[in-house]
């Protein structure tokens, strides 16, 4: 079991125990995660590194409730998400998790504003309440002047910042980032990492990030290495 205490005096936010995840591929059983246990404190900034196929993204998907483990349990902020049904899990995700993907995954026919507004459509907020939240999120990522731009009118770095705004707009408990700098040039990647760092430091967000990029991983407080579905090494840096 790895205890990834990202923040000083942190309180445990995620508790994963004996996670196994296997897939059936043809006649073969693929064990992607094997007996993985992990604790993550609130306010932590974790980077998962490891070779392709080591189970990083699978772990992130399990922790974010996008997938369910073959066995084992995960609780986030006291919610046992592995015991939840599909629809409960969706509702939980809407409330507690923000996702940032490598390819940004913005909806091309919606403006930056409308993309960021998407998670808020699921809330009881009215139009003006949503506007307030969206503007705040876009300001936080430094794009208040791009809210009416479509994704095709933005650079890769700007698109990713819009995606981060979408991830944080509903004020989730947890931010999960899968290769957030994987498709960006160095400068944009630095900007994005700087932004994620600020979200942790200034806004107390908990971020779990999968990355192949050592420079991106350096920004995290803790780096965990996965190999063949198990955590093999934990690195810790000062906040």
């Amino acid at each position: 079991m790895v205890n990834a205490n990202g923040a000083p005096n942190g309180k445990c936010l995620i508790r994963a125990r004996n996670l196994d995840k296997s897939y059936q591929r043809g006649g073969e059983q693929l064990h992607v995660l094997q007996g993985l246990s992990l604790d993550v404190d609130r306010g932590g900034f974790l980077a998962f590194m490891g070779p392709s196929g080591s189970g990083k993204t699978t772990l992130l998907n399990l922790l974010g409730g996008l997938d369910v483990p073959t066995s084992g349990s995960i609780s986030v902020a006291g919610d046992e998400i592995t015991a939840m049904g599909r629809s409960q899990l969706t509702a939980w995700r809407a409330r507690h998790v923000g996702f940032v993907f490598q390819m940004y995954n913005l909806i091309p026919v919606l403006t930056a504003y409308q993309n960021v507004e998407l998670p808020l459509l699921l809330t009881s907020l009215g139009r003006s309440g949503r506007r307030e939240h969206v503007e705040t999120a876009l300001e936080l990522v430094g794009l208040p002047d791009r809210m009416n731009h479509y994704p095709r009118q933005l650079s890769g770095g700007q698109e990713q910042r819009v995606a981060i705004a979408r991830a944080i707009v509903a004020d989730p408990t947890l931010l999960l980032c899968d290769e957030p700098t994987g498709d960006l040039d160095r400068r944009s990647a630095d900007e994005v990492m700087q932004l994620l760092g600020r979200l942790v430091d200034e806004h107390g967000k908990t971020i779990l990030m999968v990355t192949h990029d050592p420079r991106a991983a350096e920004r995290a407080r803790t780096t965990l290495h996965l190999e063949k579905g198990t955590l093999v090494e934990a690195g810790r840096r000062a906040a």
Binding site: G64, R86, T90, N105, R127
Partner: protein
């Protein structure tokens, strides 16, 4: 309401595809509407028929005439309230293409037998007074731009010569399915030419329940004479003509089935392609918290909007086509009953739902982790 934008942007992202799909629904509903209208027109005699009218024709064939002396004998038969005789004229107004039904009638009988043709009292009086007077239905009058008082010259077809009529009245229908394409003139004007013969009689009954007895009485009255009759209710008479054109119901059903089946495939295919292209976006929606049911409803709503838009366009086009075609074919009243239009619309919406059903279900069941992995 807040999801309307999502539905709209998804429809607007591939405008040509959306327009073509909406167009498919429009064409289908247009065809459906037209078929219904044609079926209605074919069965018009039967549908618009009143239960209290009988048609009396020559037993040998409708093309053979009957003597005008039958008029009085028919009027004397117990249970007969009124009688009118009518004789086909079939002339040409200016051009062969300008065909419309023209009949020589007994004006007094016409009014007594056909209360569903509405004529202003003053115009009726003028018509009665004028031996060369005529009445035209509003569709025909509108078609040729006629006004009351116009002089109309019609060239005879089987009767040589050009005959001039004074338009004394324009009639309207008491109901929307009343044929307003007819042109009637006073029999007296051409009585000499018809030589005491008329085409057929229409009898109005005092009691519709008495039809069977009166039919038998009429035909017995003229049995074993040189002018035997065949009497039918107006509905049977109309149906007889419809049957000459084949089984319209079967035709409508067959064409309608082909059209709607094709539409189902088109709409299903369109939605399947559209959703395959948006797999990643659907995964993102679900990742941010859209529930399965919400995704399902969004997809179905898209399809329903296309079906509704196409259906509405098709119905409007069918109505316009019916309005403009109504005057072109003699005796053919093309009208779209609201009930049947509603059925067509329900069909279109049903097909929209059914076509999108499978892709929408697939979108609903989409596993986010798998879908994001494919993107």
């Amino acid at each position: 309401m807040k999801y309307l934008r999502l539905i709209w942007v998804n429809l607007a992202r591939k405008k040509i595809r959306t327009a073509l799909t909406v167009g498919s629904f429009a064409v289908a509903l247009f065809l459906f509407g037209l078929l219904i209208a044609i079926r209605g027109a074919m069965n018009h005699g039967e549908e618009a028929a009143r239960a209290d009218r009988l048609v009396v024709i020559n037993r040998a064939s409708i093309t053979r005439m009957l003597p005008i002396s039958h008029n009085e004998r028919l009027a004397r038969i117990p249970g007969v309230k009124a009688v009118v005789h009518a004789t086909w004229f079939g002339g040409v107004y200016k051009d062969e293409r300008n065909s419309f039904p023209q009949y020589a009638v007994d004006p007094e009988g016409l009014r007594a037998v056909y209360p569903d043709y509405l004529v202003p009292e003053a115009q009726w009086s003028e018509f009665i007074r004028d031996r060369q007077g005529c009445i035209a239905g509003e569709v025909t009058a509108r078609r040729f731009g006629w006004k009351v008082g116009d002089r109309i010259a019609i060239k005879g077809s089987y009767m040589t010569g050009v005959f001039e009529f004074n338009l004394r009245a324009i009639y309207t229908g008491a109901r929307s399915d009343v044929d307003t394409t007819h042109f009637w003139f006073n029999y007296a004007y051409l009585a000499e030419r018809y030589k005491g013969r008329v085409g057929w009689y229409v009898v109005r009954l005092a009691d519709p329940g008495d039809a069977e007895r009166v039919i038998t009485t009429i035909d017995e009255e003229f049995a074993n004479s040189a002018w035997e009759t065949k009497t039918q209710t107006e509905g049977e008479f109309g149906n007889y003509f419809a049957k000459q054109l084949g089984d319209i119901e079967l035709l409508v059903l067959a064409i309608g089935s082909v059209v709607f089946s094709t539409l189902l495939l088109v709409s299903g295919n369109t939605m399947a392609i559209a959703l395959r292209e948006r797999t990643g976006e659907i995964a993102v929606l679900k990742a941010v918290g859209f529930r399965d049911g919400q995704v399902l409803r969004l997809v179905l709503a898209e399809s329903l909007v296309m079906a509704a838009a196409g259906g509405a366009v098709g119905i409007v086009a069918a109505k316009a086509a019916c309005a403009s075609l109504s005057g072109l074919f003699p005796g053919m009243v093309l009208y779209l009953p609201s009930g049947e239009l509603a059925v067509g619309m329900v069909f279109a919406l049903g097909i929209g739902l059914l076509g999108a059903g499978f892709p929408a279900h697939a979108a609903m069941r989409l596993r986010v982790a798998d879908a994001l992995g494919r993107v």
